[in-house]
C-alpha cells in the first residue's frame, strides 16, 4: 500500500466519474460529410427543378461548402479535441440548407426582376462570404479562448461593451441605424451590422459570471406569503434592470424580437442559477405587465397583435397581415410533404430569405422537412445543454445553458411568429436565414458551446493534488485500540 510508485499509479484509476468519453472526431467527420452530401443534393435538386442545366455553380458552391467545414473540423480536432461531435455537423447542415434556400430565392427574384427589368441583387454569394467570415471568427474564438473560464476575468468589460453595443443604434440618428423601421443597425460605409446580435453573447457572458459571483443574493429567502417564498425586494434589482432595458429596446429600437429574446435569456439564466421557480413567475409577471403597457402605448405593437389575431383582416393595410398571410399560404401549399425543392413559389412572401425563411422551407420541404430541421435545432441545443450539465464549473454550466437556450428561444420566437403561434417579431432564424451579423454571432456562440463541451468531456488532468495531500491520513493503518475476541474464522460463500 505504501510501495513507491503508488502515487503515479493512483492517477491511473482515480478517474471519477469513471467516464472515458471517446473523442469521436471520426463521427464528426462522417456526419459532416453526410451534411455536405445532403446540401449538395439539395442544390442539385433546386437547379434541376428550376429547369436549368446543371451549371458549374454546383461545383463552386459545393466545394466552397466542403472546404469551409473541413477547415472547421480540423480546427476543432486541433483545438477542442474532446468537443461534442454533433454540434458542428448540425450547424453545418442548417447553414448549408439556408444557403441553398437563399440561392433558390435569389433565382426566383432574379426571374421576377428580369421580367420587370429591375436591378438584381444576389444574396447567396454574400451569404457564402459571411459564412467564410463567420468560420474565421469561429476559429479565432476557439484559438483565443483555450479555456472558457478565462472569460470570467473580462466579464465586466464584456458587460459594458455589450450594453454600449446594444444602446448604440438607439442613440445614433435614424439615418445611421434604421432599416425597415427597426433601429437596430449600425450602418458603416460598405456594410452594416446589427450590434445587438453580438451584445447578446457579451451580455450572456457577463450575466453568467455575475450570477456565479452573486448567487447567494438570489438564493436569500424573503418573506413567505401563501407558502411561497418571495425574493427580497432589493434583490429584484437585476431583473428589473433587465426588464427596463428590454422595454428600452422596444421603445427606442422598435425591435420586439430582440427584447423578447433578451428577457427570456435573463429569466432562464436566473432560474438555472437559483433553481427557484419564483424568479420565473416574477419574470413572467413583469413580461405580461410590460407587454400590456407596450400594447397600450405603441402602435406598432398593436399592429403586430392585430396581424397575429387575423392576418387576413389586415391583408391590404400597409404593414398589415400580408406577409404573415403569404407565409401561411406558403406553408399550406407545402402541406405535409412539400412541393419539392425548387418547385414552390417561396418568393411571393416578402423577406423570404430572412425572417420568413422557415415559411419558404416549409413550403418546399413540407411539414416533414421542417420538422426534421426543427429536430436538428433541438439536437443542437440538447448537446449544448448536455455539455453544460457535464462541465465541472458553475460559470460553464450557466453560460452553456444560456447559449443553448438562446438557440431554442430564437427558433421558437421566429418559427412561432411565422406559424402564427405568437405575434410575429422580426428576428433571424439562427444559421438558416440571410444576414451577416446573425451568422457571425451564432458562430461565436457555437464556438463557445464547443469549448464548453470540450471542457466537459476532457478527462481530468492526471496530476490531481488531492491524493498527495491526503497521503499521510490514507497511509495510516487502522490501529486497534482494544483487542477484540478471537475471530471465529470467516466464511466465504
Amino acid at each position: 500500500m505504501s510501495q513507491p510508485g503508488a502515487g503515479s499509479r493512483a492517477a491511473q484509476y482515480a478517474t471519477n466519474p469513471p467516464r472515458e468519453m471517446p473523442k469521436r472526431s471520426g463521427t464528426e467527420l462522417a456526419l459532416l460529410a453526410f451534411a455536405a452530401f445532403i446540401v449538395t443534393s439539395a442544390f442539385v435538386l433546386v437547379q434541376a427543378n428550376q429547369e436549368q442545366e446543371l451549371s458549374w455553380d454546383v461545383v463552386w458552391y459545393g466545394l466552397a461548402y466542403l472546404a469551409i467545414f473541413a477547415v472547421a473540423h480540423l480546427a476543432v480536432r486541433r483545438w477542442a479535441p474532446y468537443a461534442d461531435p454533433l454540434i458542428l455537423p448540425c450547424v453545418a447542415l442548417l447553414n448549408g440548407i439556408g444557403l441553398v434556400m437563399i440561392y433558390r430565392i435569389d433565382m426566383a427574384q432574379a426571374e421576377r426582376a428580369i421580367s420587370l427589368s429591375q436591378e438584381v441583387t444576389e444574396n447567396a454569394p454574400r451569404q457564402v462570404l459571411f459564412t467564410v467570415l463567420a468560420l474565421a471568427l469561429f476559429l479565432a474564438v476557439l484559438i483565443v479562448v483555450p479555456d472558457h473560464r478565462t472569460l470570467t476575468r473580462y466579464a465586466y468589460t464584456f458587460g459594458l461593451v455589450g450594453i454600449v453595443a446594444l444602446a448604440l443604434p438607439a442613440l445614433l440618428p435614424s439615418s445611421l441605424s434604421e432599416v425597415n423601421g427597426a433601429k437596430v443597425w449600425l450602418k458603416l460605409p460598405g456594410f452594416s451590422i446589427q450590434p445587438g446580435e453580438f451584445a447578446k453573447i457579451l451580455l450572456m457572458i457577463f450575466f453568467a459570471s455575475f450570477l456565479v459571483a452573486k448567487r447567494d443574493l438570489f438564493m436569500a429567502a424573503g418573506k413567505r406569503v401563501l407558502g411561497v417564498e418571495l425574493p427580497r425586494a432589493r434583490d429584484l434589482g437585476p431583473i428589473l434592470i433587465a426588464a427596463v432595458a428590454c422595454l428600452g429596446i422596444l421603445v427606442f429600437e422598435k425591435d420586439l424580437g430582440t427584447a423578447l429574446l433578451f428577457f427570456g435569456i435573463v429569466l432562464v439564466m436566473l432560474y438555472v442559477a437559483t433553481e427557484r421557480i419564483i424568479w420565473v413567475v416574477v419574470g413572467l409577471g413583469l413580461f405580461l405587465g410590460g407587454a400590456l403597457i407596450a400594447y397600450q402605448l405603441f402602435t406598432h405593437v398593436q399592429q403586430r397583435v392585430a396581424n397575429w389575431i387575423d392576418p387576413l383582416a389586415t391583408y391590404d393595410d400597409p404593414g398589415g397581415g400580408y406577409q404573415i398571410a403569404q407565409g401561411l399560404f406558403g406553408l399550406g401549399t407545402g402541406g405535409v410533404f412539400g412541393t419539392g425543392l425548387g418547385a414552390g413559389r417561396p418568393e411571393t412572401v416578402p423577406e423570404a430569405n430572412t425572417d420568413f425563411i422557415t415559411a419558404a422551407l416549409g413550403e418546399e420541404l413540407g411539414f416533414v422537412g421542417l420538422a426534421a430541421l426543427l429536430m436538428i435545432y433541438l439536437l443542437l441545443a440538447m448537446r449544448g445543454m448536455r455539455g453544460a450539465l457535464a462541465v465541472r464549473d458553475t460559470f460553464g454550466k450557466l453560460l452553456g445553458g444560456g447559449l443553448s437556450f438562446t438557440i431554442i428561444m430564437q427558433v421558437f420566437v421566429i418559427v412561432g411568429g411565422v406559424t402564427k403561434l405568437i405575434p410575429m417579431t422580426g428576428i433571424t432564424t439562427p444559421f438558416l436565414s440571410y444576414g451577416g451579423s446573425s451568422l457571425l454571432a451564432n458562430y461565436i456562440l457555437v464556438a463557445l458551446l464547443l469549448r464548453i463541451s470540450d471542457a466537459a468531456r476532457r478527462p481530468q488532468p492526471a496530476a490531481k493534488p488531492r491524493p498527495q495531500a491526503q497521503a499521510p491520513l490514507a497511509e495510516a493503518h487502522t490501529v486497534m485500540v482494544q483487542r477484540p475476541q478471537p475471530a471465529e474464522g470467516g466464511r466465504t460463500e
Binding site: 484509476y13 471520426g26 445532403i38 448540425c90 410533404f337 419539392g340 425543392l341 439536437l379 466465504t492
Partner: protein, 154 residues
Amino acid sequence: MPELVVQLTRAGFLLLLWLFVLTALRVVRSDLYAASGLRVNVPSFRRGKERKKPRGSKTPRQLVVTHGALAGTRIALDGRPILIGRADDSTLVLDDDYASTRHARLSLRGDEWYVEDLGSTNGTYLDRAKVTAPLRVPLGVPIRIGKTVIELRP
C-alpha cells in the same frame, strides 16, 4: 424533369434529412451508454475497429484476500456484483470489528470492475485513496476494508 423523378427526389430528400437526424440520435444514444459505463455502442462506421481489440488476457478472474483473518480466500468472478461486509448474505463475509454490515460492493460495468463504498463507518480504501464514489479497480491493486485487504487477479 419528368414528374416521376420530381416526386422521387422530393421524397428521397426528405428521407435523407431524417436519416441525418436518426444518425445523430444514434450518436446521442451511444453517448448515453458511454456515460452509464456500459459497453460503448459506437455507430456502425466504427464498429469494425472496436471489435478487433483483444480483451481476454487482462480481465480479472478472481478476487483474492491477501491480508486479514480470511487471508488466502479466493472468490471466482462471474460477473455478478460482490458484496463485502459483516452481513450474513454478503459474498465475502467479514468478521471484523472495523467492517460495517454492508461495507462495500464490487461490480462489473462494461468489462471493468468498480468498487463502491456502501456508507461504511471506517471507509474503503483503494490503494491509498478513500473510495467516495465508484472507482475503477485495476488488477493487483489492494482494496482495504477494515483489517482485510483484497485484490483482483487475472
